[in-house]
């Protein structure tokens, strides 16, 4: 792989990040994707669109989110200072709203009255239902039957917001199957439907568009670091499911070569057990959901079922930009097990009074590991992508508690 001078120059006009990305979809979707690409490339430079997005992010989402110094957690760990970018404080409780607010404005400008979305943990479904309600658009959310069971509260939240939640019973009944089903809906209803993908995967322009909308996280964080700490952090970390909160934090820092970047994937029961969702750490390049990227599959090319305690990380692919960053050596991707994530969840709750989402708890666990590698004056910036209310039942069940 050639050395990369400017990480902000990607993707190219075909939506490719080096060998990754692209548009691997059926012919019927080429036209709606071209229509969306054309609209989005125009809107991302349109001052009125940008101003409207900025207003929504400030007054509806509640941005900027603070960077919080987790002092007691840092003391407990005994290493570098751990800083948390508090995306859990956003409206609806996760970073996912950054993207849906943006895509909703695109849908509105394109005149599409119906929104569809896929969801794993339900956070993107909730964020989609939220913006649809606000704009008076119809919203249909596809969700794997397994995820519906483990994220009941979010299912009910979506219904309260007026969305229809459609259970998906094909394949592994999780996020990847929900994405397949949403694609099938889109291909059937292309004329009036806007497909809101919830992560930086899918065909071009989604990896670009979803990254742009989440990149506010890193733009704020970089300025906040310079303002509050007078320097950039030594290392960044975030959990990686499809990779939207991670690329959101990382992107602004990609050309700051001294800042180390570490993505935390779900290692489930441990990568060596085969029960995990660590596509980058343990997968290989392939084609899934419209793009070339690292995937988990067998030698016949069948996508394998993944495992993670967190529904939002239970995905056998990953956004193509992460594959590109991995091959370029700009970012490292490591596995964090279910148990490590749960320990981090409890530790953060007890030392800081913050219940993190199980997804985000993977990032916290990784931040703890990184903090141990750096001196006391080191700075580790961790994306706390969401709050943990939705996971209370899962954690209770796992620990044999009835609530």
């Amino acid at each position: 792989m050639p050395t990369i001078d400017d990480f902000h120059a990607w993707p190219d006009e075909h939506g490719r990040f080096g060998n990754y990305g692209g548009s691997y979809v059926a012919e019927t979707l080429m036209a709606p994707l071209a229509e969306l690409t054309e609209a989005y490339l125009r809107l991302r430079k349109d001052p009125e669109f940008i101003a409207e997005l900025d207003r929504d992010l400030k007054y509806y989402v509640g941005r900027p989110s603070p960077i919080y110094h987790a002092e007691r957690l840092s003391q407990h760990v005994g290493g570098a200072r751990i800083l948390l970018k508090r995306e859990d404080l956003n409206h609806t409780g996760a970073h996912k709203i950054n993207n849906t607010v943006g895509q909703a404005l695109v849908a509105k400008r394109m005149g599409k009255p119906r929104i569809i979305a896929e969801t794993g943990a339900g956070q993107h479904g909730v964020a989609s239902a939220t913006v649809a309600a606000r704009l008076g658009l119809k919203c249909v959310v596809y969700m794997g039957a397994v995820d519906i069971e483990r994220q009941k509260m979010n299912v009910y939240r979506m219904k309260l917001l007026g969305a229809e939640v459609v259970p998906v019973t094909s394949g592994s009944k999780t996020l990847k199957d929900a994405l397949n089903e949403a694609m099938r809906d889109w291909v059937t209803n292309v004329a009036d439907t806007f497909y809101m993908i919830g992560t930086v995967a899918g065909p071009h322009p989604y990896p670009l568009m979803v990254r742009d909308f989440n990149a506010i996280v890193g733009r704020e964080a970089r300025a906040q670091m310079l303002q509050d700490y007078g320097r950039l952090p030594d290392a960044l970390t975030a959990c990686v499911g499809g990779g939207s909160n991670a690329i959101g934090l990382f992107h602004e820092f990609l050309n700051d070569r001294d800042v180390r970047i570490v993505g935390a994937e779900a290692a489930g029961d441990g990568i060596e057990t085969g029960h995990h969702a660590a596509s980058l750490a343990a997968g290989r390049p392939g084609v899934l959901h419209g793009n070339r990227t690292y995937v988990l599959c067998d030698d016949n090319g069948q996508i394998t079922e993944t495992h993670s305690v967190s529904a939002g990380l239970d995905y056998p692919g990953v956004g193509p930009e992460h594959s590109f960053l991995k091959d370029a050596g700009r970012a490292e991707y490591v596995g964090v097990t279910d148990d490590e994530a749960l320990q981090a969840f409890h530790l953060l709750a007890r030392t800081e009074g913050i219940l993190a989402a199980l997804e985000s708890s993977h990032a916290v666990a990784q931040a703890i590991k990184l903090a141990r590698e750096y001196p006391k004056d080191g700075l580790i910036l961790c994306n706390l992508s969401g709050r943990g209310d939705k996971d209370v039942h899962t954690i209770a069940a796992r620990e044999g508690v009835e609530v």
Binding site: Y24, A26, T28, A31, V287, L288, C297, Q302, I303
Partner: protein
């Protein structure tokens, strides 16, 4: 002196062209059944393929099962899941094609599926093995023209890439598809997934006529054709009809291995008769 005409890399590779030329000469509409390879029974796959030909198939589309068939409805999803559960992969599919070729050197075979199994198998390796087995073309649903550079090793080996065109395809793009098409162009009759039931003959007749006027290759129409009646309606303006989900569903109800070939023939024969009754 070396021969100035470069030899065709795969002697069988123009089977598709020859078959369509013969159909045209006889003023017949081609019948293209789709079956998911390995379903309902891996052991009886070759028998099923011969039965399709006996039932009147002019070309066979063999679906290579994939875990995430984004463009397929429930019938083909379930057939794929069953085949995968029985361990069916590219190796098995090519084995059946090779076995079929021992008795049938004429009927063209197109492998239909998704890119990842081919990518993981390796493009060059797949190309060589597929040609050796007697495959004539590939239709990779999630590999549009824009991404087809990866398929160069397949073309080099003599496999034809069958392209899809759809009602949503923009006019300029249709020109490019028609130029690039090899073998035949597969026109998807409606925006949707396989097995959906929204076929409207009236709407598509004009569109298919436009495509046929532009394309250098024959145009096959698929999606939504389920029986003799719908096949006959489409045959009025298409070079061939593709029938998938309705056949796959019929085969899935087979009561035992001996029932499979009979069902295939019983399903296709009335359709063949309707197509031929001009």
């Amino acid at each position: 002196m070396p021969n100035p005409v470069s030899p065709i890399p795969n002697p069988g590779s123009r089977r598709i062209d020859r078959r369509f030329a013969a159909l045209k000469a006889a003023s017949r509409t081609g019948l293209i059944p789709f079956v998911t390879a390995g379903d309902p029974s891996p052991e009886h796959m070759v028998t099923l393929m011969h039965a399709l030909v006996e039932g009147g198939a002019d070309l066979i589309e063999l679906g290579v099962p994939f875990s995430d068939p984004m463009a397929d409805g429930l019938v083909i999803q379930h057939a794929s899941e069953r085949a995968i559960a029985k361990g069916v992969g590219i190796g098995e599919v090519l084995g059946w094609v090779a076995a079929f070729r021992q008795r049938d050197a004429q009927t063209p075979i197109v492998l239909m599926g998704y890119l990842n199994p081919v990518e993981i198998h390796g493009y060059a390796r797949f190309a060589q093995e597929a040609v050796q087995a007697g495959v004539d073309g590939v239709l990779l649903v999630d590999c549009p023209l824009e991404e087809a550079a990866v398929l160069q090793p397949l073309r080099d080996a003599g496999l034809q890439q069958i392209l899809l065109a759809a009602p949503t395809t923009a006019p300029q793009r249709m020109v490019r598809l028609c130029e690039a098409a090899e073998g035949f162009l597969y026109y998807v009759s409606f925006a949707g997934i396989t097995g959906a039931g929204q076929l409207s003959t009236h709407d598509i007749a004009g569109r298919v006529a436009d495509v046929r006027a532009q394309a250098k290759v024959p145009v096959a129409v698929g999606f939504g054709i389920r029986d003799a009646q719908s096949a006959k309606e489409i045959a009025a303006f298409a070079d061939a009809v593709v029938i998938g989900s309705a056949l796959v569903a019929r085969l899935a109800e087979a009561t035992g291995p001996d029932d499979i070939a009979g069902r295939a023939k019983d399903f296709l024969q009335p359709i063949r008769a309707a197509l031929d009754a001009h």
